[in-house]
């Protein structure tokens, strides 16, 4: 691997992930999938009670694909993202 490629693979980014009102800064390789950042944020905020698939990460109200690489989103450094538990099954009237 060339030095240039290695540098590209080692590019890190900081994301501010707000988990249930609590912000945590996660510094992570841009080549990692977004779910790696989500997992770190849940670990740091001690939210280990529910599996990752019960959570959703949002930017400007749009749900992000946790399987995509972080760099595919082209986030600026310190981008703020919201990570919240999905609502359970409720409601009962179909429109």
């Amino acid at each position: 691997m060339s030095k240039e490629n290695k540098q590209d693979n080692d590019k890190f980014i900081s994301l501010i992930i707000v988990v249930n009102t609590i912000p945590v800064t996660i510094t992570i390789n841009e080549n990692a999938p977004l779910k790696a950042a989500a997992e770190k944020a849940l670990e740091e905020t001690k939210n280990s009670g529910r599996p990752l698939q019960d959570w959703e990460m949002k930017l400007d109200d749009k749900i992000l694909d946790l399987d995509k690489k972080i760099k595919s989103y082209d986030f600026p450094n310190n981008q703020e993202l919201f990570l919240s538990l999905k609502a359970g099954v409720g409601g009962n009237r179909i429109i």
Partner: protein, 201 residues
């Protein structure tokens, strides 16, 4: 002899108030530390004093930004019981009935070609008192239809019933999909419209 846990359905504080107050303080402190983030999304703190916090929700993506609804979240007996969410008039601090809400919190539950299937997350019974019908809300767990889904199965497992969770879900289903106004024949009551594609699942 087995011990039985009795959960009251009233607003009477039966849990040691020091415990509920401490937990309320932790919830509100976390929220206040992130308040600037929530305010940018149109979530306005109207006031708080144990056991209640009052919040207004505005749709800031449209102009002028309407105050769509306000709630009083009550932490009596927290967290042996889930918080209660009551919809209120933000100016009078009085409960409202379901006809006074501009919409009923649609949730997308499926799509077949051009047909989008929705359900409403705010419901009411004969008394017309609206309640937010998701796990983590006291009214959901106390409802006779949900006796099999006790709050104690959700408590402390990832955030349901925390202030942050409730604020996020009220915002998600109450505000985030709103994309405009709808003017009926009479301008006495203007309602809001949703872009069907952006209604959250």
């Amino acid at each position: 002899m087995s011990e039985e846990i009795i959960i009251s359905n009233s607003n009477e504080q039966t849990v040691d108030p020091t415990v509920s107050r401490k937990k309320f303080d932790l919830e509100t402190q976390d929220f206040l530390q992130s308040y600037s983030r929530y305010r940018k999304r149109g979530i306005i703190l109207l006031g708080y004093e144990f056991p209640n916090i009052k919040l207004a929700f505005m749709a800031v993506k449209i102009n002028p930004a309407p105050l769509v609804f306000a709630v009083e979240i009550n932490f009596t007996n927290y967290d042996l019981e889930a918080p209660s969410v009551k919809f209120i008039n933000p100016f009078l601090d009085t409960p409202i009935d379901i006809t006074q809400l501009p919409h009923q919190f649609p949730r997308k539950i499926g799509q077949l070609k051009n047909q989008i299937n929705l359900q409403t997350l705010v419901l009411s019974q004969a008394d017309k008192i609206p309640f937010f019908c998701i796990p983590g809300v006291r009214e959901y767990h106390n409802h006779p239809a949900h006796t099999g889904d006790s709050w104690l199965l959700h408590r402390g497992t990832g955030g349901e019933g925390t202030l942050g969770f409730l604020v996020e879900k009220l915002y998600q289903y109450g505000i985030s999909g709103i994309n405009g106004f709808q003017f009926p024949g009479s301008f006495q009551k203007v309602t809001v419209t949703f872009d069907p594609q952006t209604i959250p699942e």
